[in-house]
């Protein structure tokens, strides 16, 4: 018997809702069967906590007296994009400090703001009749600014590649430190806990879906950049590589640095660990089939990150159970594998979201509009105007 989101929300309000996390549903469905599970369980919570470079925050500082139309903005010496209205800016997670370099970046500014620390704001302008001030230097905190909200163009990748290094030198990548001669392999996905791997065809996750983001409640705003749903999928619906993505929005003022953290990968740069949780309504048996997916059923491909090309050579597919065991086979070699996203913290988020739903503090939303299931994925070619 199918359920609706309205019915599930009624159960949340009356306190009768049954919620499991995406790990618990596996055993539950295995014991009780798909039909019974669909009838008994209302919501499954999914989550991920990993580095997501395509993140950043919009800030509106409020107007100074006399006012300024900020043309260039720095926050703790990290440039923010100010080519929008007078006192709006966008601070990107990966932007580096002009004085500290790779040690401090946009993600650190965002983290400092959430932690309530004072941040130095500097801005310059050419001055106009309506905005006469030409420069400003002052300190702000998350409480003094009008608005501060995260708007992340690409988060929650539906699966991601695994990385290794066939060359004879250590390489430093966004997939972490890769030792020479297949010294290790890294990967970055919450696997069986991951939101889009539990709803592979975006039946419930869509534009407008309410989510947990960095400790706050936020929303899916759009498909993420590089959303590539047309990738080859396995029989269980999961793609064997990077596929769908989400653009997310949430109020920075409600966030908590346990669930959003600045990070720095050596010789690569600054990024941000984002903690995201997505509740998935158990609408029917088909949803249970998707939700009971295990690490063993989800595959990704191991790529050679020492090859500095858009298309790197692949060493074949491997599943997340193998990856998480700490050792995978690449050809005849045993290669040590490690995750660069935190499964422990993802599980914590899934459990926290479960608790919030059980307490009636988090209700589900139907999506306003679905995410596309077909979307072209284009590369960038270097062309003259005539060749276009």
């Amino acid at each position: 018997m199918a359920k609706t989101i309205e019915e599930i929300n009624e159960k949340i309000k009356s306190g009768d809702v049954v919620v499991l996390n995406a790990e618990e549903i596996i055993e539950y469905a295995d014991k009780k069967g798909v039909k019974k599970t669909a009838a008994e369980v209302d919501v499954v919570t999914t989550a991920t906590f990993g580095p997501m470079c395509s993140s950043g925050a919009f800030l509106n500082f409020g107007h100074s007296d006399p006012p300024i139309r900020m043309e260039k903005v720095w926050l703790n010496d990290v440039p923010a994009y100010a080519g929008i209205a007078a006192v709006d800016c966008y601070i990107g997670a990966t932007e580096l400090s002009e004085t500290e370099g790779i040690k401090y970046g946009g993600a650190n500014v965002i983290e400092d703001l959430i932690n309530g620390k004072p941040v130095k704001l500097k801005a310059i302008s050419h001055g106009t009749d309506c905005y006469p001030r030409r420069e400003i230097e002052t300190f702000i905190t998350i409480d003094t600014v009008n608005q501060a909200y995260l708007f992340n163009p690409r988060n929650v990748y539906q699966n991601y590649a695994a990385a290794t290094n066939s060359s004879n030198r250590t390489i430093y990548t966004y997939m972490g430190k890769l030792l020479p001669n297949f010294g290790n392999a890294t990967f970055s996905s919450a696997g069986q806990l991951s939101p889009l791997l539990n709803d592979p065809y975006y039946r419930t996750i869509g534009i407008g879906t309410r989510i947990f983001i960095g400790g706050a409640q936020g929303f899916v705003a759009w498909m993420g950049t590089q959303h590539n749903p047309s990738r080859e999928r396995l029989a269980n619906g999961t793609p064997a590589g990077p596929c769908g993505t989400l653009a997310l929005i949430g109020n920075l003022k409600d966030m908590n640095t346990r669930f959003i953290r600045a990070c720095s990968f050596r010789n690569y740069g600054v990024s941000m660990f984002m903690g995201i949780g997505v509740p998935i309504p158990v609408l029917d048996e088909e949803m249970v089939e998707f939700l009971k997916v295990t690490d063993e059923d989800i595959y990704t491909e191991v790529f050679d990150y020492s090859v500095q090309r858009r298309n790197r050579p692949s060493y074949g597919r491997v599943n997340y159970k193998q990856l998480r065991s700490g050792s995978i086979k690449i050809g005849k070699r045993d290669v040590q594998s490690g995750c660069i996203s935190s499964y422990a913290r993802a599980l914590e988020i899934a459990n926290l979201l479960k608790e919030q739903i059980l307490k009636g503090k988090f209700t589900l939303t139907a999506s306003v509009s679905p995410l596309p299931l077909e979307q072209e994925y284009r590369g960038l070619e270097i062309l003259s105007q005539e060749e276009l």
Partner: protein, 135 residues
């Protein structure tokens, strides 16, 4: 019989002497050199595990000190700051002795100091700078 893991620093003048040989010959100790390197300024550094009678190890340490070898206990040298660590596991794939692993049940980071050979590969692999070396 006890085991002790020590970091030995050999000054330039000592590098050419057969000091480790004496540990076997004179003090009857079993040793395992876990790491050894000579830095460009000709200082030698060695991580060594000594196994044997406690008194003999103590005597060997005195012998080393008398020969200008600086001796430090190795066990406390790598520190994982649990307040900063996010249990991602980035350090686990590069830890060749598997001193750093994720717990199979909780997926939280475990650090088995006995397995650590102080190679320090983990230090700059940590995206949140939670691993520090305390030399």
């Amino acid at each position: 019989m006890i085991k002790r893991k020590l970091v030995l620093s050999f000054p330039e003048k000592t590098v050419t002497k057969p000091i480790i040989y004496k540990l076997v010959k004179e003090f009857d100790l079993e040793f395992n050199i876990l790491r050894a390197e000579i830095t460009p300024d000709m200082e030698g550094k060695m991580l060594i595990e000594l196994k044997g009678d406690k008194q003999r190890i103590d005597n060997a340490v005195i012998y080393l000190s008398e020969n200008n070898v600086t001796v430090q206990e190795a066990a406390k040298d790598i520190i994982v700051d649990r307040d900063i660590c996010i249990d991602c596991g980035a350090c686990t794939s590069i830890c060749i002795t598997r001193a750093l692993t994720l717990d199979k049940k909780t997926f939280k980071l475990d650090f088995d100091k006995d397995r650590c050979i102080l190679c320090e590969l983990c230090i700059d692999s940590c995206p949140v700078s939670a691993i520090k070396v305390n030399m």
